[in-house]
């Protein structure tokens, strides 16, 4: 039996009838055609599907769409504000924090949540902070640096974020 859900994604509200078993990641990717959120493992280990659900990073492959009814969701597509990159996006590019780009959206969403709790992290804290997300290309060095640098910038200027 289908259920009606209303979900706000990146500031736009969507109301749809969905099968209860529809995974949130499929709702985002297929119903809303926001394909920046990826699927990498199906078992909540890789973090490619990470989004912000009411501000918290979560793995959208392990959430049913119906559970998110009434929620506010942010995906990578909502990161830019007024045509400008979020400091994290900027830093990922500047410090070569990505290669194939597949884990990047999830990594960015995770980093937003992480920095919210810890705006001035150590390298070690960043490593634990992104341990929810696997990257197979970068060896993490440059992701860690990018997050450090973005944090620096975000401490200096108030950033309007999707969260």
């Amino acid at each position: 039996m289908k259920k009606e859900v209303t979900i706000n994604v990146n500031g736009t509200s969507y109301t749809e009838e969905v099968e209860p078993r529809l995974l949130l990641v499929h709702f985002i990717r297929e119903n809303l055609e926001l394909t920046g959120t990826h699927i990498g493992c199906d078992t909540s280990h890789c973090g490619a599907c990470t989004i912000l659900l009411n501000g918290d990073s979560v793995k959208s492959c392990t959430i049913f769409t119906v559970q998110a009814d009434g929620a506010e969701i942010a995906t990578v597509e909502g990161m830019m504000q007024d045509g400008k990159y979020h400091p994290l996006q900027e830093a990922f590019k500047e410090y070569h924090g990505l290669q194939c780009g597949f884990c990047t959206p999830g990594m960015l969403m995770r980093a937003i949540d992480f920095l919210k709790h810890n705006p001035d992290p150590t390298e070690e804290e960043i490593r634990w902070g992104i341990s929810s997300n696997l990257c197979r290309c970068t060896g993490y060095n440059n992701i860690v640096i990018a997050i450090e640098k973005a944090a620096e910038k975000m401490r200096e200027v108030e950033v309007e974020t999707v969260a």
């Binding site: 830019m80 194939c100 197979r136 060896g139």
Partner: protein, 790 residues
């Protein structure tokens, strides 16, 4: 020798750390990966897989599945057999089932494919397909596969009486025997590199779209080698009307590849067949479990290694005998002439003239494959063997492993150097590399610290690996895959306003080709890199090439780009001579313009010259500004590295902490230092992964026991140490840019460095070798065996 930039930052040629062109779409979530492709009327495919590793299929009942609303059809091996599409060639001229008609040969083998109107319905239908199997006892141990009473697995091959695939050998058996007989010191070790999986974060899949009106087949596919795929598809399906000009393979953005996206998996072929039969686009995306269970593996080499030396530690000969478990078919993509790839690099970075290597490959009831894990053609195995053995020798004769290496290295002035197994190493400076690594990590102080720690009963280890890589396959005189020569290509087309598009037969999976190739062309033509668009992965538009794997892109396609650009520069010179009314010899090139020698004010920029190629070119000259080159490398390139790793081991629990890891790489001239460093970081993490975490584990019943990320342990940022990197540069003398290729070096070099460090830490206990992955549990077992823990 360091590389100095010849171009300005604005032009952005070689040596500049240009920010990557591709990043803008990726950080916005606007990459276009295969699963992002959505076509009108698209159907979804899902696969019924065998729970058994070896079984007869008694029957397949699709009735219940077909009764589900939304299920279009279920395709079985019998259906494919009707069209003679049930078998296909592997890249190494073996054969592989697309779907089985009677027997399954490994757990998770594709048995039937469901086509439905949604992913969800397809998944439901997979559960509803009833397959009746008669399980048989699988052959899982490659050693037992050769037993005379082992069942012959490949009964499809007429006259096949055993499970042996090939014997390959290289070197002088007798002479090696002789040297070993007379050597002061011989060390021997059994070294096994287990099966591992690339596990790129994006799994494999495709969207196959056959248009009945135009009879054109377009396939969006996760492939590193789109042209080779097109040819294979044409070979498999040409007889049903899919001739090569009607097939277009598009490899969009790839979420990592590392070799796992080279092979052609049955799922692709069934999806192609399905769209061909149904006339609607069909999408197939495997999940992680399918990916880990059924896609191409790497390693699985069991090597018996022996090293002969004088008592002073001068290496005299190396001998290696290997058993390779290929699974049920040889699915590797090695060059035809080298079924064991470039394993002959196993003699390493050392100067000695005698060696003998042999490899026997066997069939078992495991999935096929053979190379895929960021390693060019068995180089990881070869480097692991020699780098472990050198340490074992050092330990045996009581010499510092750094010193032993220094004494045995091929010297800088010996290049080009012909190795004992016949490869001609192009260039290198191994002494400089190791010295730099030792200085950077503070080797002498670390050894002092180690002495103190040992006195306190603490376990600290320092591991060195000084490897030589071999990449850039390869010269057409002896490199081919399925008969296709292994050249690669570049086509450059410069528009009238001096902006360009260049197309390649390779396909980036994160290596940053869109940036790097543009830099090469910028270097040669002086057109700013930002004005050059790079396109790859579309067989309708790109020139033919063998693809991106085995660190070959820069060595082959990068060279092709340089030469094609030089062809254009020659044309520009002619136009400049015409416009400036001087002879070509009177012109001088600096990046971006030709000027008259002695009269620099008389000059033409490349943009002016290109414009002239469309508007005002010399009589008799062909108009336009376009060039293509297919590059056939004269030799392979030989990157090298000196890696040093420091570990601390918890003597109670066996926990291993990689304290530091220094990597000095020599990949010849560097095009983009930022990208090269990134490649090294990533490769190092894919080195620590098999060294300490990853392994595909099978039991005797044929089950894979860790077919998900729950148990297949891909390192996170916590497990991955902070990498410290630097370079020495010895340009390749035969490559047009002096470049060598880099991406796989760190994956080759890191595991032996880590294992050597761990063994070094445990050496006071008399330990000489530990198999990878070296887990805390394995270390604990040693500690227990030695009575350190109870």
């Amino acid at each position: 020798m360091e590389f100095t930039c010849k171009t300005s930052k604005e032009i952005g040629g070689m040596g500049h750390s240009l920010k990557r062109r591709e990043d803008d779409r990726f950080i916005q979530g606007k990459g276009n990966y295969v699963d992002d492709v959505k076509l009108p009327g698209m159907l979804y495919m899902d696969i019924v897989r065998s729970p058994y590793a070896y079984a007869k299929i008694k029957s397949i009942n699709t009735e219940k599945a077909l009764a589900i609303d939304g299920v279009i059809t279920v395709i079985t091996g019998k259906d494919l057999e009707e069209h003679n599409l049930h078998w296909m060639p592997t890249f190494l001229s073996d054969t592989q089932m697309v779907l089985p008609t009677d027997t399954v040969m490994y757990q998770a083998q594709e048995v039937a494919c469901v086509i439905a109107t949604s992913r969800y319905i397809a998944a439901d239908a997979v559960e509803a397909v009833e397959v009746d199997y008669e399980p048989m006892k699988p052959v899982m141990d490659p050693h037992k596969a050769l037993d005379p009473d082992a069942p012959v697995l490949r009964t499809d091959k007429e006259g096949k009486k055993d499970n042996h695939i090939y014997h390959w050998e290289n070197g002088d058996r007798e002479k090696t025997e002789e040297v070993f007989k007379n050597a002061d010191v011989v060390v021997k070790e059994q070294i096994y590199l287990p099966r591992i999986h690339v596990a790129s974060i994006e799994t494999c899949g495709c969207v196959a779209d056959y248009q009945t009106a135009t009879k054109k087949m377009t396939v969006y596919m996760t492939t590193q080698a789109p042209h080779a795929v097109r040819t294979v598809v044409a070979l498999v399906a040409g007889h049903v009307g899919l001739s090569e000009e009607r097939i277009r393979i598009i490899s969009p953005d790839l979420g990592g590849g590392f070799g796992g996206k080279v092979p052609i998996y049955p799922g692709y072929i069934v999806a192609i067949t399905a769209t061909f039969l149904i006339g609607k686009p069909v999408k197939w995306i495997e999940d992680r479990t399918e990916n880990l269970q059924a896609d191409s593996f790497a390693r699985d080499y069991d090597m018996t290694c022996e090293l002969a030396a004088t008592k002073e530690g001068k290496i005299q000969a190396f001998r290696i005998k290997t058993l390779a478990d290929m699974g049920y078919t040889d699915g590797s993509a090695n060059p035809s002439k080298y079924p064991a790839g470039m394993f002959s690099i196993c003699t390493g970075s050392y100067d000695y003239s005698t060696a003998f290597a042999e490899v026997d490959a066997v069939y078992t009831n495991k999935p096929p494959g053979g190379i895929a894990y960021r390693c060019s053609f068995r180089v990881t195995e070869a480097a692991h063997a020699i780098e472990r053995m050198v340490d074992i020798l050092a330990q045996k004769i009581g010499k510092d492993p750094a010193e032993l290496r220094m004494e045995n290295f091929i010297k800088k002035d010996q290049f080009p150097y012909k190795s004992a197994l016949g490869w001609e190493y192009d260039s290198g400076d191994y002494h400089a590399g190791l010295e730099k690594a030792m200085n950077m990590i503070g080797y002498d102080e670390l050894r002092k610290e180690q002495v103190e720690k040992r006195a306190k009963g603490e376990y600290m280890g320092i591991g060195i690996c000084t490897f030589t890589e071999i990449v850039g396959a390869g010269p057409s005189k002896d490199f081919d895959i399925l008969g296709l020569k292994m050249f690669d290509s570049a086509e450059i087309r410069v528009h009238p306003t001096g902006k360009a598009i260049a197309r390649f037969g390779t396909k980036s999976q994160g290596q940053g080709h869109e940036t790097t190739y543009a830099q090469i062309i910028a270097e040669e033509l002086g057109i700013p890199a930002e004005h050059i668009t790079i396109e790859e992965g579309d067989t309708d538009t790109a020139p033919y090439g063998l693809g991106t794997y085995a660190s070959r892109s820069i060595a082959t396609a990068g060279a092709a780009a340089a030469i094609a650009a030089r062809k254009l520069r020659d044309k520009a010179r002619k136009i400049a001579a015409y416009l400036l009314e001087v002879s070509e010899e009177d012109l001088e090139w600096e990046p971006g313009k030709f000027s008259v020698k002695g009269a620099p004010e008389k000059s033409k920029t490349i943009q002016e010259l290109v414009f002239a190629a469309y508007t005002n070119y010399p009589p008799g000259m062909e108009g336009g500004f376009e060039a293509v080159h297919y590059y056939d490398p004269p030799n392979l390139t030989f990157p090298s590295g000196a890696y040093i790793c420091v570990v601390d081991i918890d003597g109670k629990t066996g926990a291993i902490k990689v304290r530091r890891f220094v990597a000095i790489d020599d990949c010849g001239n560097i095009i983009n230092p930022m990208i090269v460093q990134g490649q090294i970081h990533g490769g190092l993490t894919q080195g620590i992964a098999p060294a300490m975490y990853e392994e595909l584990i099978y039991d005797d019943e044929g089950n894979i026991l860790n077919g998900s990320f729950m148990d297949y342990l891909v390192p996170t940022a916590v497990e991955s140490p902070k990498w410290e990197t630097d370079h020495v540069v010895t340009p390749s003398p035969h490559h047009p840019l002096g470049a060598k290729g880099v991406a796989e070096s760190p994956t080759v070099g890191a595991p032996p460095a880590i294992v050597n460090a761990i063994v070094d830490a445990l050496s006071p206990l008399g330990v000489t070798h530990v198999e990878i992955p070296v887990t805390p549990y394995k270390v604990w077992k040693i500690l227990k065996e030695k009575g350190v823990v109870d």
